[in-house]
Symmetry: C2
Subunit: 132 residues, 2 copies
């Protein structure tokens, strides 16, 4: 009787690589934090700095008690997203650069925007968004 070899075929789960760099920035010149054109340019340039590719961008200018206030900018990327939210009344902004794939550099994009905003303090965190 011929021997029977049992072969187990396991389905390989593809590795999804994701890195999320995010931070809270204080002590920023409030004039910068309402300047949509400036902030939008910096988000676009940061994507280039991080080898990230913008598909589309959403923006919103907020008002506080009828006056010009913070802005939100969210860039949908081929590699995930960048978000920037600002609160000029607190000289404060938060930034997220989340990228998937091994070809991009979210740290470089993050640092690019920090260099543009010149906060007096930055609290940076990094989180894996990978499935492995």
């Amino acid at each position: 009787m011929a021997s029977i070899r049992k072969i187990t075929l396991e389905r390989q789960v593809p590795k999804i690589i994701g890195m999320h760099v995010y931070g809270n920035m204080s002590g920023i010149d409030e004039k910068l934090l309402t300047d949509m054109d400036f902030l939008l340019l910096k988000v676009k340039e940061s994507a280039k700095a991080g080898n990230l590719h913008i598909i589309e961008i959403l923006t919103k200018k907020f008002k506080l008690h009828g006056a010009e206030a913070g802005v939100s900018i969210i860039a949908l990327l081929e590699e995930s997203h960048i978000s920037l939210h600002t609160w000029p009344e607190g000289n404060y902004a938060t930034l997220d650069v989340y990228s998937c794939g091994a070809a991009s550099n979210p740290d470089a994009a993050f640092k690019y925007i920090v260099a543009a905003l010149k906060p007096t303090s930055v609290k940076i965190s990094r989180a894996s968004r990978s499935n492995c």
Copy 2:
């Protein structure tokens, strides 16, 4: 000679309250992860569950080797943003619910989407996005 009282007026920095709940979810039925209508509905419903207010939404359907692949959904909120990125080839998705202000409940929104996607495992993290 009259005494001189020195009064120091310190500028109060407004408190910006922000909470970011994010997670990586594995073991999701891949059919759900390409179903833009279903995912978009769940993002909208999750915002209601968390008392979050959508301003505008960006969506993108990706292709992998010519076939239907993952999607990205980013909702710009009055309170910051929700993002959902999916990778059906890995039965994998990542979710961010970031809200500012004390009136919203990002955990409720997060849990709403988890309940809809039914992952076999979820790694949840919470990060303060406050300036205090």
